[in-house]
Symmetry: C2
Subunit: 182 residues, 2 copies
């Protein structure tokens, strides 16, 4: 899978043939087909592994008894660590998942929706509890971009840890950049 991840991330899904994966791994095409089925199965597995992992970690954090801002912070720390440690896989998952078709596409879209719903749920619960402002539901889209788009540059061994970066971004989203917010 490591080989497919790298080839998909570097060349794009459509430009990567099974024969390239075969050449890169030294596994024959026949054996590849036998073990993984198809190129689309590989893409699905990459997306599915990342999102399942993210949803498991996130589900635990979201279910915790804690202030809504603290759940938000922990969720974003966990997300950024995941993005940083699997940046290539996430590049493939974000940029290539639309190449999936039928049931595979539906499963991945559903997993993405469930993650988005977790973030939206914290914002809604926090507003209901008076901890957050009343927020337009679309606000979640911006917040997802704030954290998720870091797949393009974040690395686990950077100058700051993923958790430090998550905290910086969380502070911006929670408190705003204005010295005296309205």
């Amino acid at each position: 899978m490591t080989s497919a991840v790298r080839l998909f991330a570097e060349n794009g899904y459509h430009a990567t043939g099974i024969e390239m994966i075969s050449h890169d791994t030294g596994i024959g095409r026949g054996a590849l087909y036998h073990h993984i089925g198809s190129k689309e199965t590989l893409l699905f597995e990459i997306c599915h592994t990342r999102l399942s992992d993210l949803l498991t970690q996130s589900g635990r954090i979201v279910a915790a008894e804690a202030a809504h801002q603290e759940r938000f912070r922990q969720l974003m720390r966990s997300t950024m660590r995941n993005l940083a440690e699997h940046a290539l896989e996430w590049t493939v998952a974000f940029q290539e998942f639309k190449a999936l078709t039928g049931q595979r596409r539906a499963v991945i879209q559903d997993a993405r929706d469930r993650y988005e719903a977790m973030v939206a749920g914290i914002l809604r619960d926090g507003a209901g509890a008076g901890e957050f402002r009343e927020l337009d539901p679309l606000v979640v889209k911006g917040i997802l971009g704030h954290f998720n788009y870091s797949y393009a540059w974040i690395r686990p061994d950077g100058e700051r840890t993923p958790e430090e970066i998550a905290d910086l971004f969380t502070d911006t989203v929670l408190n705003g950049v204005l010295r005296e917010p309205r």
Copy 2:
């Protein structure tokens, strides 16, 4: 160029051959080579046109005499309108620009850096003027993702205008989501 944008966005740069563009446009390969030079020239032109346009509009806004939060708001309105009206071009520019090499890659990277520097400049000036909090320079990366990642879903004819969405996101970034920011 419309044809190349669509093919690059749908299939990825590496999977799109000049013969596909030739077939799609009905322009012969010879004529295509004569007019555009190479596939990489096409990719460069797509990225360069978008970024030049964005930098021209942004430069005007950034140079205006206005409160820093107002300059920020206008910059983001303009950015979101640009992203929405050219969503496919931006998909190519964001996802494929790393396929550029040498001088072409350097020119596009420089343009991206200049846009980032404009946003960072507003944050720095605003903090210097006491309008914004003192912010870690890395904060700009999250803010760029907050707005720019919308290339993946924003459209000019959506239920909300790009400017309305920009305002929602700007309110989040300026004021934060906490009812009582620290």
